[in-house]
């Protein structure tokens, strides 16, 4: 009796792959365009932005077909939507703000950058009534872990300081590169300068503008 050990599923898959002719890599998972096509990056770009969903099925691009005016309407509408900026805004206020350590205010909440890369331009404003001299350094910060940690993107933080009245400061950062399929939050971080442990009456306002940028999208 001859005993033959059963082949593992992975081994079978390897054998099958070795036995079959080399499969051409697909472009954007379209079976009629392969990755070596010089226009594949353009097809990827369109598919990541959902400008094309496929032609007669979601696995066919029909690269040799002429474009009908009906289809063109869909392509242009979807392209226009992908290029239209979106916004995340937030405002906040309070009677006092303790600053034993840096405080994050005006958190925009989650902003999902789906399937294609974007850039963000963010501006934040803080107003406070300082009965006694105070000093804070203002930063634009972002978080990709729901606010657990924050990263400053401000190269030149704004110093807000003085006493005996209302103070107003603004800080901004343009063209922050955002990765595709990543969730971001934006906020203003107030770092207390030596001698400052709290602010009195305060308010803040932030506006984040997200726009398409060139770069690698996902999943294609």
């Amino acid at each position: 009796m001859i005993c033959i050990a059963p082949l593992a599923r992975a081994s079978i898959a390897s054998l099958l792959m070795a036995a079959s002719p080399t499969a051409t890599a697909l472009c954007s998972q379209f079976t009629d365009v392969d990755q070596s096509n010089p226009l594949c990056p353009n097809v990827d770009w369109l598919r990541n932005r959902a400008v094309t969903l496929g032609c007669t099925s979601t696995t066919l691009y029909c690269p040799g077909d002429a474009v009908l005016r009906l289809s063109m309407a869909a392509f242009m509408n979807r392209l226009g939507n992908a290029l239209t900026p979106t916004f995340a805004v937030q405002q906040g206020q309070g009677a006092s703000l303790l600053l034993p350590s840096p405080a994050v205010v005006c958190d925009t909440g989650n902003v999902l950058a789906t399937t294609y890369p974007r850039s963000a331009s963010v501006i934040g404003i803080v107003n406070t009534l300082a009965a006694a001299p105070v000093g804070v350094s203002m930063h634009i910060v972002y978080s990709t872990n729901a606010g657990a940690t924050w990263t400053s993107v401000t190269q030149a933080p704004t110093s807000l300081g003085g006493g005996g009245g209302w103070l107003n400061g603004a800080v901004q950062k343009s063209a922050i590169p955002l990765n595709a399929n990543t969730t971001y939050r934006f906020a203003v971080r107030l770092d207390p300068l030596p001698g400052t442990t709290q602010l009195g009456t305060w308010s803040c306002h932030i506006k984040s503008t997200l726009a398409s940028r060139t770069g690698s999208g996902v999943p294609y």
């Binding site: 009906l70 309407a73 290029l83 107003n127 209302w166 400061g169 603004a170």
Partner: protein, 233 residues
């Protein structure tokens, strides 16, 4: 009994004849007679027509949905799409000497913007710097305002005003205010400015002896609309 049955039969025949004689008219898509509103691409065609990217093919009432896009047409479509997606800017810059804050002046007004038929969003930022002489100490408040035409009253457009305390020593101080995304109504003109005045509860009074301001508003395409062709159908 037979007469009643004959009458019912006649009524039935007449009803069918009338139905055949007056076919139900499908609603037009974006005013085009060759695309009806049930076409799954109708909302896309409305999007294009609202932005002036298509104005029809052989006539203003035909879209020619099954016609192929020539490279010549494509160049027109892409140019119009590019124009629709290009932001428009409205800005105001000014400076001056004495300024009576009790008049609630609106500074740095932008020129009037008349939105096209397509939907748009405005957003922006403005600042005012002002300084007072030794006789004037007060709290100053700045609000970004807008109005639908040059003779209408100004309305607050920014929910968070900016404030600062002018302490009468001539130091230049000021405030920045934001315009959060503001939905513009198609075809309705709009203008923006910065309104400045003494804060409520400010105990002392006075005027600026010098000031300057700047306001920049960016106007972008917006995704949806209801005018003139409802893209959300």
């Amino acid at each position: 009994m037979r007469a009643a049955r004959a009458l019912r039969c006649l009524f039935f025949v007449v009803a069918i004849a009338l139905a055949l004689a007056t076919p139900v008219e499908a609603a037009l898509c974006a005013g085009f007679t060759d695309v009806d509103s049930t076409n799954p691409f109708c909302s896309n065609i409305e999007w294009l027509k609202n932005r002036g990217i298509t104005i029809g093919c052989t006539s203003l009432t035909l879209y020619c949905p099954a016609a192929v896009v020539t490279r010549e047409s494509m160049s027109i479509f892409l140019q119009r799409l590019g124009n629709a997606m290009t932001p428009t800017l409205r800005a105001g810059y000014n400076s001056g000497s004495s300024l009576d804050l009790d008049l609630l002046p609106v500074l740095c007004p932008t020129s009037l913007h008349t939105p096209p038929a397509s939907p748009q969003t405005a957003h922006g930022v403005g600042y005012i710097l002002g300084w007072t002489d030794a006789a004037s100490t007060m709290d100053v408040s700045v609000t970004l305002v807008s109005r639908p035409n040059v003779s209408a009253p100004w309305d607050p457009a920014s929910p968070v005003p900016g404030s600062w305390s002018a302490n009468g020593n001539g130091t230049r101080k000021g405030a920045v205010v934001l315009l959060p995304p503001q939905t513009l109504l198609p075809g309705v003109p709009i203008q923006w400015g910065l309104r400045v005045g003494r804060s409520a509860g400010s105990l002392t009074t006075g005027d600026f002896v010098g000031w300057n301001c700047q306001l920049v508003i960016e106007i972008d395409n917006r995704v949806t609309t209801s005018s003139p062709f409802d893209e959300e159908e």
